[in-house]
């Protein structure tokens, strides 16, 4: 899609990423991110959180890859001890869905017979009031902040997202505050032309950030391919604490913001990753 003109509508919620993180994310917050699973991971926001030295109490990365940094923290308390609340993908989804529905819990059959649910602080056995078999109740999980990367949003935060959704919608509905990071801020007419694609209504949104490439190295359908090499390079270099620290300096701490990250990646890499092909959806006629 060609670069849009700056929208002339009021930009009530529009912030730079630095402002949005400073205003919306606080020490001790529970943050939900990485919600679409492997695509649309808001890495730019995570880097900014690290730069601002915020300490998150609970980062809901449902993908939960066994990163070396994560393992050092869990196994050895380096650089600091972390506490895990283990979930399956469905149970954390139900925890967010319960909060999104305004319920204290949702019942489920998943996890019965396994160790995740044993002594779990948020999952308890429950009987079926209609006489069926016993279930598990998954308690509501209400993040303080959900950080979501989408293709486009208007300045009021109404967000169009397409492709796999993962837990994006549940998290935005459940969270106290939602930061929408988008590839493009578009005129509201674009959003209203296709309301079925609005996954997050703007009145739930606290800040809108236009940050093209903000999800790299993860993919954004129609905008960016997945950049595989950084995932492998991070895996190799983070094997040691020193390696992780030098990676952090190169890609996070010594760079002021996401445009600097993109510049550091280089134009050749960006050209390889940027989607220029067109596979547009068929038109949907909304005429009354």
């Amino acid at each position: 899609m060609p670069a849009p003109e700056s929208p002339s509508v009021p930009v009530k919620l529009k912030r730079s990423l630095r402002e949005a993180i400073a205003e919306q994310v606080h020490d001790g917050d529970a943050i939900a991110l990485g919600l679409a699973l492997e695509s649309g991971i808001p890495f730019a926001a995570v880097h900014e959180i690290i730069r601002q030295q915020l300490i998150a109490a609970w980062v809901g990365n449902v993908a939960g890859g066994s990163g070396y940094g994560f393992r050092r923290a869990y196994e050895q308390g380096q650089p600091r001890r972390i506490v895990m609340e283990d979930h399956s993908n469905f149970s954390v989804g139900l925890a967010l869905k319960a909060a999104a529905m305004g319920l204290p819990y949702l019942p489920t059959f998943t996890g019965i017979g396994g160790d995740i649910v044993r002594g779990h602080p948020r999952i308890r056995p429950i009987g079926d009031p209609f006489g069926g078999p016993d279930l598990l109740a998954v308690g509501a999980l209400r993040p303080d902040v959900a950080i979501i990367h989408v293709q486009r949003a208007d300045a009021q935060g109404n967000a169009h997202l397409w492709g796999n959704l993962g837990l994006t919608v549940e998290a935005a509905y459940a969270a106290r505050r939602t930061i929408v990071i988008c590839e493009e801020v578009v005129p509201e007419a674009v959003i209203r032309s296709d309301p079925n694609r609005t996954m997050i209504p703007g009145f739930l949104v606290s800040a809108v950030v236009e940050e093209p490439g903000g999800a790299l190295p993860s993919s954004v359908q129609g905008y960016w391919r997945r950049d595989f090499e950084p995932f492998l390079a991070y895996h190799r270099t983070s094997r040691t604490l020193e390696g992780l620290q030098s990676w952090l300096r190169e890609w996070v701490l010594d760079l002021p913001d996401r445009p600097a990250y993109l510049q550091h990646l280089g134009e050749a890499a960006l050209a390889r990753l940027r989607v220029s092909d067109r596979r547009p959806a068929a038109e949907a006629n909304f005429a009354p």
């Binding site: 393992r71 283990d86 399956s88 998943t110 996890g111 995740i116 993962g166 993860s218 129609g222 391919r225």
Partner: protein, 249 residues
């Protein structure tokens, strides 16, 4: 003429053969991504694939994918929904077969991907992801594992994905595909259904930390056909998933 093939290509073929036509498949990561595509291209053209990120496909992706969220897995999908939507279909009983992997397995088909102290020190593993859900809720599960003694335990340290247990509502482990063979888990004991060509019963026993039944007439795993290999090499052209140094055949 027999084509040369890798151990992992053989495992993809074995995985594909676990899918019957018209079945609804909860597709896992790694080898099952290819197994689903191969089944669709050969004996199960009407199988449907669900991915936990919300994608529903009735044909494989047109280009190589590393993860279920890669853009080629979205293009041409029949639906892109959310995780709770596809997990709800799983919970409802709409899924015939699901694929899962693990770091450790025991004779009941319990899988551990959470934490282990088998090496003496605590090792944190990635956690459940969707595996615990597939193990709990699918009509049957197919397990895919590296066959090593430290991974095949009498009892796993932690049950991330439950196998057979009293009072199970439905499903449970049906088949275990490893780097050495294919094993039947449906009878709650581990019985070799086939050993990969060149693998001896002794090798399997040495690599398995619990008793495994291997009958005298246990067949060799059927080797990939030329068509099967052609599909796999089209879908994984650089051998990212299926390349290995153990060329056999």
């Amino acid at each position: 003429m027999t084509s040369r093939y890798t151990r992992r290509e053989l495992m993809v073929v074995a995985a594909a053969r676990e899918i019957r036509d018209h079945e609804v498949v909860f597709v896992g990561m790694r080898l099952p991504l290819l197994g689903f595509g191969l089944a669709k291209a050969t004996h199960a053209p009407d199988a449907i694939g669900l991915f936990e990120n919300g994608v529903i496909r009735d044909r494989p992706a047109e280009a190589f994918i590393y993860t279920m969220g890669d853009p080629p897995n979205i293009v041409g999908a029949v639906a892109c929904l959310g995780l709770v939507d596809v997990m709800s279909l799983l919970q409802q009983g709409r899924v015939d077969v699901g694929f899962i992997g693990g770091a450790e397995v025991d004779p009941l088909g319990n899988l551990n991907t959470t934490r282990t102290s088998s090496s003496g020190a605590l090792t944190r593993l990635p956690g459940s992801g969707g595996a615990g859900d597939i193990a709990s809720l699918a009509g049957r599960t197919v397990l895919i594992m590296e066959h090593e003694p430290r991974r095949f335990r009498e009892r796993v340290d932690y049950v991330t994905s439950p196998g057979h247990f009293p009072g199970r509502r439905r499903g449970g482990p049906a088949t275990l595909i490893t780097t050495l063979g294919v094993f039947d888990l449906s009878t709650r004991r581990v019985r070799a259904a086939s050993l990969h060509p060149g693998v001896t019963p002794q090798q399997v026993r040495e690599a398995t930390g619990f008793p495994v039944t291997i009958e005298d007439h246990t067949p060799a795993t059927a080797i990939p056909t030329a068509d099967e290999l052609a599909y796999i090499r089209h879908a994984d052209p650089d051998g990212f998933w299926t390349g290995d140094s153990m060329k056999t055949g």
